[in-house]
């Protein structure tokens, strides 16, 4: 479960800290108390920044770091595809062995494949990704009404 990639992201997180954003969400995992505050800043269809602050286990913190590394700079459509692929992997209960195509999409995030075998930890890995999805939807809807 604890791949070196995960431990590296845990010890040296990418993009941690809150910066300006178009929308902010706060998500918690009530079973273990993991928490994240996450902001998204968009420029049209492009993700300019995903900033976050949180507390939690290595899995949840490393996952937020990987998310930042993967999604910042991407177009929304592509980011959504990455998020859906990660979700599919995490819900696979260890049955998906990531192939080259998946690795190309998920990059460092394939390291979480092993976590999907531990039902209690899947939520930790998904916490920041669900927060990002939520914050992006909020940024888009607020952008339209503004």
């Amino acid at each position: 479960m604890y791949q070196d990639v995960i431990l590296d992201h845990y010890k040296n997180p990418h993009g941690r800290g809150l910066r300006d954003g178009d929308a902010e969400v706060h998500h918690v995992n009530p079973t273990c108390g993991d928490e994240i505050t996450l902001r998204v800043r968009l420029a049209g269809e492009k993700i300019e920044d995903v900033s976050y602050e949180g507390q939690g286990c290595s899995i949840s913190q490393a996952s937020a770091s990987v998310l930042n590394e993967l999604l910042v700079g991407k177009e929304l459509a592509e980011a959504q595809r990455i998020q859906e692929t990660f979700l599919e992997l995490m819900q696979s209960k260890g049955r998906i062995e990531p192939d080259d195509a998946m690795e190309e999409v998920l990059e460092d995030a394939v390291a979480f494949a092993g976590v999907s075998k531990y039902p209690a930890r899947v939520k930790c890995a998904l916490l920041s990704w669900m927060a990002w999805k939520d914050a992006t939807a909020k940024a888009l809807s607020e952008g339209k009404t503004a």
Binding site: M1, Y2, L7, Y10, T31, C32, G33, D34, E35, Q55, G56, C57, S58, I59, Y118, R121, C124
Partner: protein, 419 residues
């Protein structure tokens, strides 16, 4: 090396009664089960009784005139006798079977919610709990408070994990109708000073409810000595099956207070317009009860009594003292709760530097060591001490000093892994 501590039980013999303790996990690692505050393991003596019940005596209770119905009824009511004796209840009719301690506490809250004077809880009255309660002794009282308008108050905690009773006269007042508190905390391990709280509650005429879930399995429990009005506990933490809990209540209160759940078994007569109720305890046991589970709990009580609750308490005291001493050797380990074995149960919560308890628990599990991580259904305690969660090791009559050593070694491995 075998470590000998004064007061230890013969765990080699006791562990033979618990088949699950022989299990290995994660490819041959010996199981070190340190999650006893969540649930205890079950001895063969209990498992055999459960099996025999279903194989030989299974029937519904208190109805039917056939042999099996009479046997099942005698076994179910026999379990009530055993539990009454185990807690030194003045009468067997004061022992109500529920499904767990949560249901027991909810039952009391709802008896009071529907009661007439002098027990009625309303907007002019107050309910008192403490900051170290399990959620099961917080939420039922929050619900009662929201539904009746009664004010909910609580005792805070000191930095060393004890109840802060310095303002007891302001917390428990003439308006207080009920004081409900935990005897031994499931997260801090603290054993609370019952006498001081009961004395003040009696002064103002408030009822006293004691959550003994973490006490009944580990020490002699005497409801008369406690001088409480209600005592709740659960079976699965004391070598019994899950699905069975107990509420003990003083006879005159059980006579006066209204039933909560209605249905079969709790009635005297029923017409389409109204009903009259059976006397306690049946008044509070609507529907088919957990029969085999009650019988299993009776067997658990027999088992614990055969070893002796005083001896179990001494064993756990020795293990706890040893564990506190060994855990404090680990750099960056902070015990959340009393750092002495005095007035303390055998659940020890701690944090380990910045390493999240989830990671601690996972890496311990990889070594075969089962602990609990999280907020232990006592989130206000985590907020009080400014921590998101803890790792908790909790011991029982079959726990050994070698298992404490395994935990300490396991934690060293965790530190190196994340260091």
């Amino acid at each position: 090396m075998t470590i000998l501590l004064p007061g230890l039980l013969d765990t080699d013999a006791i562990r033979k009664d618990f088949p699950i303790l022989d299990r290995t996990v994660h490819g041959g690692k010996k199981l070190v089960y340190l999650d006893n505050a969540a649930t205890s393991q079950k001895p063969r003596q209990v498992l055999d009784v459960l099996n025999e019940h279903y194989e030989q005596h299974n029937a519904n209770v208190h109805r039917g005139v056939h042999v099996l119905a009479e046997e099942a009824t005698a076994l179910y009511e026999g379990a009530r006798d055993k539990i009454a004796a185990f807690i030194n209840a003045p009468s067997r009719d004061e022992v109500i079977f529920t499904k767990n301690a949560s249901e027991s506490l909810n039952l009391v809250a709802n008896m009071l919610g529907w009661a007439d004077e002098p027990y009625r809880v309303d907007h002019d009255t107050e309910i008192v709990i403490t900051e170290m309660e399990h959620h099961s002794n917080i939420v039922p009282w929050q619900l009662l408070s929201q539904r009746t308008g009664a004010k909910l108050k609580w005792f805070g905690l000191t930095d060393d994990g004890r109840l802060d009773l310095s303002n007891i006269d302001e917390i428990i007042t003439e308006k207080t109708k009920v004081v409900s508190f935990v005897l031994v905390s499931n997260i801090l391990g603290t054993l609370n000073p019952v006498e001081a709280i009961v004395r003040r509650a009696q002064q103002v005429g408030a009822l006293v409810v004691v959550d003994a879930s973490q006490a009944a399995p580990h020490m002699p429990l005497d409801v008369q000595a406690l001088q409480a009005d209600f005592v709740a506990f659960t079976g699965h933490k004391m070598c019994g099956p899950d699905g069975i809990g107990v509420l003990w209540g003083r006879q005159e209160l059980l006579e006066d207070l209204p039933p909560f759940l209605g249905g079969g078994e709790m009635i005297e007569t029923v017409s389409m317009h109204s009903s009259t109720y059976a006397p306690a305890p049946h008044k509070f046991e609507a529907g088919t009860p957990p029969i085999a589970q009650a019988v299993g709990l009776g067997a658990a009580v027999d088992y614990l009594t055969s070893i002796g609750m005083e001896r179990i308490a001494r064993h756990e005291h020795a293990i706890t003292e040893y564990a506190i001493q060994r855990l404090q050797e680990i750099p960056d380990l902070r015990i959340i709760g009393p750092v002495t074995a005095e007035d303390r149960g055998a659940a020890i919560s701690f944090t380990l530097g910045d390493i999240h308890p989830h990671d601690v628990g996972q890496v311990l599990d990889e070594q075969g060591i089962a602990v609990r991580v999280g907020h232990h259904c006592a989130r206000p305690v985590c907020l009080r001490y400014g921590i998101p969660a803890t790792t908790r090791a909790s011991f029982y009559l079959y726990s050994t000093p070698a298992e404490v050593d395994a935990l300490v070694e396991g934690l060293e491995h965790v530190r190196n892994f994340f260091g």
